[in-house]
């Protein structure tokens, strides 16, 4: 207690009497270190989390019911739908019929049958436009034309990356249709069945399912492509806010749904490569942050070392008048702690008060996602504690080196 009291007094007075600009500079370095440690990895992880979030909101939903591996479709889809209606924690759900399809644009103009066909391979989805929109907000992705009406016949929404004018930036990465505009006809073939559709709208998203897919009303899909059993391929469920998808999944499993279909929460359904990329980016961010941490600890070490060295004589005198070494060491550790705490607090204020809201409102526009800043509380606490402990060590070591020197040599400066 005595050591802490006197150590704090000496340490705080040194901070108080130090040059204000020196203090500001050190705190600035600590703030940058905090931001480097928290924000860099947060932005890297945010690239993937932004992609995951979009994937969740626009495609998979919070819980996804799909066909069992050994089945083509969800067996007893209508029975499952009736069951879902009884769950109050479900905000909305959308039933999707999906088939691999080929869309062709120039089939009318192509006189020479040997000439190249303007085709694109895609996944055609039959949806109820209203519930799909309620669940995934598909209508908000319209960039040209208009959204589907449930009673539309012969109308189709096409993903922007199926059209050359939207996908030109990707070069030859995937096939596209040329010269297709709103109101043009395209021919869609699924298996042996073909039908002409008029392009009613173009949807654009960074989610591949949307931007590379096509959408028609589910009634027409079932009728044209022979899905008379009404068994769907996907049911995407959106939960009410603050309701756990794990609880819903457990309840669905308990009701025996797994006899007919596979149920996955979003986390379970996230592709492994996304999780791997996220972990890799996190590691990369930690590595970059660690370099900053080392630089900051060296900075603190040098500052405290110079400070202690320039006060070597005073340290000797304090020891001569009976002040224990531990008190002197604590005084310097107090300074280091002050810089670490103040820098971290300012860094946290900037992160949570400015950077996170800013990137939420203005995501970084990457080709495959809207990058946000992901700052998890536990991770922040862990990294802040790491910064704090390393700074304390960087403050303690030079104080320990100087304070352990012979008292008389310190006083006489020899």
């Amino acid at each position: 207690m005595r050591t802490i009291r006197i150590g704090l007094l000496l340490g705080l007075r040194q901070i108080q009497r130090a040059n204000i600009w020196t203090n500001i500079l050190i705190i600035f370095v600590m703030t940058l270190t905090f931001l480097n440690l928290i924000a860099v990895s947060g932005l890297l992880v945010g690239l993937i989390v932004g992609s995951e979030r979009a994937f969740r909101e626009q495609s998979i939903g919070d819980v996804l019911i799909s066909a069992k591996p050994e089945e083509r479709t969800i067996l007893g889809t209508q029975e499952i739908v009736r069951m879902l209606e009884t769950y109050p924690e479900i905000q909305s759900y959308t039933v999707r019929y999906i088939e691999g399809a080929q869309a062709e644009a120039n089939y009318k103009e192509r006189r020479d049958l040997r000439a190249e066909r303007d085709v694109v391979n895609t996944r055609l989805r039959g949806i109820d436009p209203l519930v799909e929109d309620a669940t995934t907000g598909l209508s908000k992705r319209i960039v040209e034309g208009s959204y589907l009406d449930p009673n539309d016949e012969g109308k189709i929404l096409v993903g922007s990356y199926t059209l050359e004018k939207y996908a030109s930036g990707f070069g030859d990465v995937f096939d596209t249709m040329s010269n297709v505009s709103i109101g043009d006809s395209i021919r869609v073939t699924v298996g042996d069945a073909s039908k002409e559709f008029i392009v009613k709208g173009v949807v654009q998203s960074k989610v591949e399912d949307v931007s590379m897919g096509m959408f028609i009303p589910e009634k027409e899909f079932r009728r044209v492509f022979g899905r008379v059993d009404r068994n769907a391929d996907q049911i995407s469920i959106r939960m009410k806010p603050d309701v756990s998808e794990d609880v819903l999944k457990a309840s669905l499993v308990e009701s025996g749904i797994e006899r007919h279909a596979k149920v996955e929460t979003f986390a379970e359904g996230t592709p492994k490569f996304l999780t791997d990329i996220k972990n890799t980016f996190n590691l990369l961010g930690t590595f970059i942050g660690s370099i900053g941490l080392i630089v900051a600890s060296i900075t603190i070490f040098i500052i405290i070392f110079i400070n202690a060295l320039s006060r070597r004589r005073h340290i000797g005198i304090l020891k001569a008048v009976g002040i224990e070494r531990s008190v002197i060491e604590l005084a310097y550790v107090t300074q280091a702690a002050f810089y670490a705490i103040t820098g971290s607090l300012i860094g946290a204020a900037i992160t949570y008060g400015f950077l996170v809201p800013f990137f939420d409102a203005n995501p970084i526009n990457f080709p495959f996602s809207d990058g946000i800043l992901v700052v998890e509380t536990m991770s922040t606490i862990t990294r802040t504690l790491t910064l704090f402990v390393i700074t304390l060590i960087a403050g303690f070591v030079p104080a320990w080196i100087i304070a352990r020197q012979n008292t008389l040599n310190a006083i006489l400066g020899r």
Binding site: R2, A320, V321, G322
Partner: protein
């Protein structure tokens, strides 16, 4: 109070050995005001550092207040200095970040004295050296003489059994030097045992005993 027997101190630099103290035997009694005098290089400050256990003699025995101090560990020596000895240094040696009051308080707090009591004792010590209105002044806001008096206040606030002063007037003008010496004389009159190193004979009139050194040896030891 202090019994030093056959104290030697040798410094080694590379292959060169310099014997600064060549076997000093001296006894200082309670209530003495001893001046250690001599020319530069005579070994007077080195002797003071041995007697005040700031340094470790090469050979010899040293007993202070009944304690064989050379057998103590570094930590025990620090505690011994805190509880038994007081120091006044040539260049005041106040902590520049602390006020005069805080400089005096720190060793008191180290003795586990409460904050309030330490403050009262510090103020009383500063009052006694004539710094009643300078409690909150930083060392840089005090003159040289005032700083030395604050240093004396720090040394005496804990009521040490022995007060060591290493050329306390060396950095002061005559007026301030005289004030400091008179202050030490007053403390001695109140019963304080003092050992002072000085090379200025005009400041020895308050001393009861003068030890003259030359070339690492005591050449005279006279009462006055």
């Amino acid at each position: 109070m202090i019994t030093a027997t056959n104290i030697t101190r040798t410094f080694t630099t590379g292959d060169i050995e310099t014997k600064v103290l060549k076997g000093i035997t001296v006894t200082i009694d309670t209530g003495d005001f001893v001046a250690i005098m001599g020319k530069s290089g005579a070994g007077k400050s080195t002797l003071l550092y041995q007697l005040s256990i700031l340094d470790q003699p090469s050979t010899g025995d040293l007993v202070i207040d009944g304690t064989d101090v050379l057998a103590l560990s570094e930590k025990e020596k620090t505690a011994f200095r805190l509880n038994t000895l007081g120091f006044v240094f040539q260049d005041y040696a106040l902590v520049p970040d602390l006020t005069a009051r805080e400089n005096v308080m720190v060793p008191l707090l180290m003795r586990n004295i409460s904050w309030n009591e330490a403050k009262i004792l510090a103020d009383a010590a500063l009052d006694s050296v004539g710094l009643a209105k300078k409690y909150e002044n930083l060392p840089s806001q005090l003159s040289g003489g005032e700083q030395q008096r604050a240093s004396i206040a720090r040394a005496i606030a804990g009521k040490p059994k022995i007060l060591f002063a290493d050329e306390p007037t060396a950095n002061l003008d005559t007026f301030s030097g005289t004030q400091v010496i008179e202050l030490l004389g007053k403390l001695h009159a109140e019963g304080q045992t003092i050992v002072m190193v000085t090379h200025e004979p005009e400041y020895t009139h308050v001393c009861t005993r003068i030890i003259e050194m030359e070339d690492g040896l005591v050449v005279s030891d006279k009462l006055q």
